[in-house]
C-alpha cells in the first residue's frame, strides 16, 4: 500500500509541531515518530513497508485514521447539507434605516449599497416589531437561549421602540420559559446618561462603531455637513464605558486605505478610552473605491495584526485578558474545531429584519428587494432561502476546495461577495491570502497556548464561534 500526505496545515507553536486537519478542523500535536513520517511523505509518496521500517506500524495507522495521511485513493468527505429547517437563534432588528451620520463607506447608504429603501417605512413600528419577536420565538423552537440585536441605520434614532421591544420580548420569552438577551450597535452620537443607565439596567450589550483616534475616525464618520463625529462621541463613549457596568463594551473599527494604523487605533480605543474589546474589519467595497484597501495595504494590516496578536499571546500565557477580539474570535473557532458549511449563520440561525418587516439573510441585506427572504408575518420563503444557502455552501465554491483555511472561512462574507462579484455565493478571492495568513497566525498562538498554558483555552469552549 502506498501513502501520501492527507490534507492539513502544519504549524509550530512554542517549538512544538501541530497539524490543523482539513476538513475536520481537528488540531493534533505530533510526537517525534509521527513527525518523521510526515516529513518523509513531504518528500513524496512512500510504501507502507518503507514507513514501517522508518517509524513502525502503529504510527501509520494512527495518522491514517486521523486522515493526516491518506492512501493513494484518498478520502471521500462530502460535507452534509444543513437541515432544511434550522432553528433561529438571532434576529437582527433594524429599528430604522435612517442615520444621523453620512459615512462615505457605509454599506447601507454608500456607493456600493444593496438596499432599495424607496417607498418602504423609514422607522419600524411596534406592530412590526412585535411580529418580529413572535416570529423569532416560534422559529427558534428547541433553543432555550435566543438573542435580539438592535441595528440601524442609527439604532438610537428609534430608542422608544427599542424599549418597547425589550419589554415585550422579555415578557413573551419569560412566559415560554425561554432566555432572551439583547445587544445593539450604535454610532454613539445620541447616547445620553438616561439611555446608558437603561442599557446597563437591562444588560444590553453595546458595540460602538468607532474608527480610532479623532484623525482616523473623522475621515469617514461624519455628519451630513462633513463635520467629524469624534468630538461629539468621545465624552459619550467615556460615560458609556464608565456607567454601563453589566456587559463588556466593544469597539468595532472599519479599516480603510486612509485608516490602517491598527496598533495606534487599538491603543487609543483600549487604553485611552477603555473599551473592553476592540475588533477590526476592512471596509466592504468594490475594489475601485479610493478608500478600498489594496493588496499592499492588507499586507501592512496583517503585519500589524500579527504584532498585536503577539502581544495577545504574552497576555494569554500570563492568564490575562487582552482586548484584541479578532484573536479571541478566531481562537474560539479553532478551539471548538468548527468546520463550516457556510461562512456565517446568515439565513440559517440568524436573519435580519428591516423596518418594513421584510426578512433578509442578515442586517447587511436588509431593505434589498433582490435578497428578500420573506416577511415576519408570513415567515421565510423556503425556496429563496434554499437558493441563498445553496450558493453560499462550501460545496459549490470550487475555488475553496483546495484551501486549507476553508473550515473557518467557507468562502467569506456573503455580502462582501455580492458587492465584489455580484453573487453572494462567490468566494471572496481578494482576501484569500489575508485569511490564510491570519488563520496561520492564530493557529501558532493557539499551539503556543496549548503547550504552555492550556487551561486558558477553556475560556473559548463557550465563546460564540461564528
Amino acid at each position: 500500500m502506498t501513502y501520501r500526505l492527507g490534507e492539513f496545515h502544519a504549524f509550530d507553536g512554542a517549538g512544538r509541531k501541530f497539524l490543523y486537519l482539513v476538513p475536520s478542523a481537528g488540531i493534533f500535536e505530533l510526537d517525534e515518530v509521527s513527525a518523521t513520517v510526515v516529513a518523509r511523505l513531504e518528500q513524496g509518496e512512500a510504501t507502507r513497508a518503507e514507513l514501517a521500517a522508518l517509524a513502525g506500524e502503529d504510527v501509520i495507522d494512527e495518522l491514517y485514521q486521523a486522515h493526516a495521511i491518506a492512501t493513494t485513493e484518498g478520502f471521500v468527505e462530502p460535507l452534509e447539507q444543513p437541515p432544511a429547517e434550522f432553528p433561529l437563534q438571532t434576529l437582527v432588528m433594524n429599528l430604522t434605516n435612517q442615520c444621523n451620520l453620512s459615512c462615505q463607506y457605509c454599506y447601507e447608504f454608500g456607493e456600493d449599497k444593496v438596499a432599495t429603501p424607496e417607498g418602504k417605512p423609514k422607522f419600524m413600528n411596534f406592530e412590526t416589531a412585535k411580529a418580529s419577536v413572535d416570529y423569532l420565538l416560534t422559529s427558534s423552537a428547541g433553543r432555550r437561549a435566543i438573542h435580539i440585536t438592535f441595528f440601524g441605520g442609527e439604532t438610537l434614532m428609534n430608542f422608544p421602540l427599542l424599549k418597547q421591544v425589550v419589554d415585550y420580548a422579555s415578557a413573551q420569552a419569560a412566559e415560554r420559559g425561554r432566555y432572551i438577551d439583547f445587544s445593539l450597535t450604535t454610532n454613539a452620537t445620541l447616547l445620553t446618561p438616561a439611555i446608558i443607565e437603561y442599557l446597563s439596567d437591562k444588560r444590553i450589550g453595546v458595540t460602538v462603531s468607532i474608527d480610532g483616534s479623532k484623525e482616523s475616525h473623522d475621515k469617514f464618520r461624519v455628519f451630513a455637513n462633513g463635520r467629524g463625529s469624534y468630538d461629539i462621541i468621545e465624552p459619550k463613549v467615556r460615560a458609556l464605558i464608565r456607567d454601563h457596568r453589566t456587559r463588556p463594551i466593544t469597539a468595532r473599527v472599519t479599516m480603510t486605505s486612509q485608516a490602517m494604523d491598527v496598533l495606534g487605533t487599538y491603543r487609543h480605543l483600549k487604553h485611552d478610552l477603555g473599551f473592553h474589546e476592540v475588533g477590526f474589519a476592512p471596509v466592504t467595497t468594490s475594489p475601485n473605491r479610493l478608500y478600498s484597501i489594496n493588496e499592499r495595504g492588507l499586507d501592512s494590516v496583517l503585519d500589524q495584526f500579527r504584532r498585536l496578536a503577539g502581544e495577545y499571546l504574552d497576555y494569554a500565557l500570563r492568564g490575562e485578558h487582552h482586548g484584541f477580539s479578532n484573536v479571541s474570535d478566531t481562537l474560539a473557532e479553532l478551539h471548538q474545531g468548527v468546520s463550516k458549511s457556510h461562512p456565517c449563520g446568515a439565513g440559517l440561525g440568524l436573519v435580519g429584519v428591516g423596518p418594513s418587516g421584510d426578512i433578509a439573510p442578515c442586517h447587511r441585506f436588509v431593505d434589498s428587494d433582490t435578497h428578500r427572504l420573506g416577511h415576519v408575518s408570513s415567515g421565510i420563503d423556503r425556496a429563496r432561502q434554499a437558493d441563498f444557502l445553496g450558493r453560499g455552501h462550501i460545496n459549490s465554491k470550487t475555488d475553496c476546495h483546495v484551501c486549507w483555511a476553508r473550515p473557518v472561512c467557507a468562502g467569506g462574507c456573503h455580502h462582501e461577495a455580492y458587492v465584489r462579484y455580484g453573487d453572494t455565493g462567490h468566494p471572496n478571492l481578494h482576501y484569500c491570502e489575508w485569511i490564510r495568513g491570519w488563520t496561520d497566525t492564530c493557529l501558532r498562538i493557539y499551539g503556543a497556548i496549548a503547550a504552555q498554558n492550556p487551561g486558558f483555552l477553556e475560556l473559548f469552549s463557550e465563546r460564540k464561534a461564528a
Binding site: 488540531i27 493534533f28 515518530v33 494512527e62 495518522l63 496549548a450
Partner: protein, 112 residues
C-alpha cells in the same frame, strides 16, 4: 492514540470516535491495546443470568442460583453500589463462603 495528541475539542471527538471503533472490552487502566482475539468478559457476556428471570417470571428455572449474582458482583464484575468491595476494604468478605450456592448464608452484612 500514542503518537498524536488531541489538542482542540474536535480532535478529542475524533479520538473518541476512533477509540469507539476498535476497542471492545478493555481494562480501566493501561495503554490502548492492539486489536486482539475477542474474549467475552463479565456477567452480561458469559452465561450468568444476572438479574433476569426465567420463563415463568421466577428464578427457580435459572441455570444458576440468584446467590451467584452476589458473588459475581463481588468478584467477576464488581458493582460497588451493591456489594462490599473486595479490592480495598473487604478482601475477606467471602472467606467463609466456599461455594456460593451452599454457603451464601455465611456472607454477612458489612457496616462501613
Amino acid at each position: 492514540m500514542k503518537h498524536l495528541r488531541a489538542i482542540n475539542q474536535k480532535a478529542r471527538r475524533i479520538e473518541d470516535y476512533l477509540a469507539s471503533l476498535d476497542e471492545d472490552v478493555v481494562g480501566l487502566q493501561g495503554p490502548p491495546q492492539q486489536p486482539r482475539p475477542h474474549v467475552p468478559m463479565g456477567c452480561s457476556l458469559v452465561f450468568s443470568p444476572g438479574w433476569e428471570v426465567d420463563s415463568a417470571g421466577g428464578t427457580a428455572g435459572l441455570c444458576q442460583p440468584v446467590e451467584r449474582d452476589l458473588y459475581d458482583c463481588y468478584v467477576t464484575c464488581f458493582w460497588p453500589a451493591q456489594v462490599p468491595d473486595h479490592l480495598n476494604n473487604y478482601p475477606d468478605w467471602t472467606a467463609k463462603c466456599a461455594a456460593a450456592t451452599k454457603d451464601w448464608r455465611n456472607i454477612d452484612l458489612v457496616f462501613p
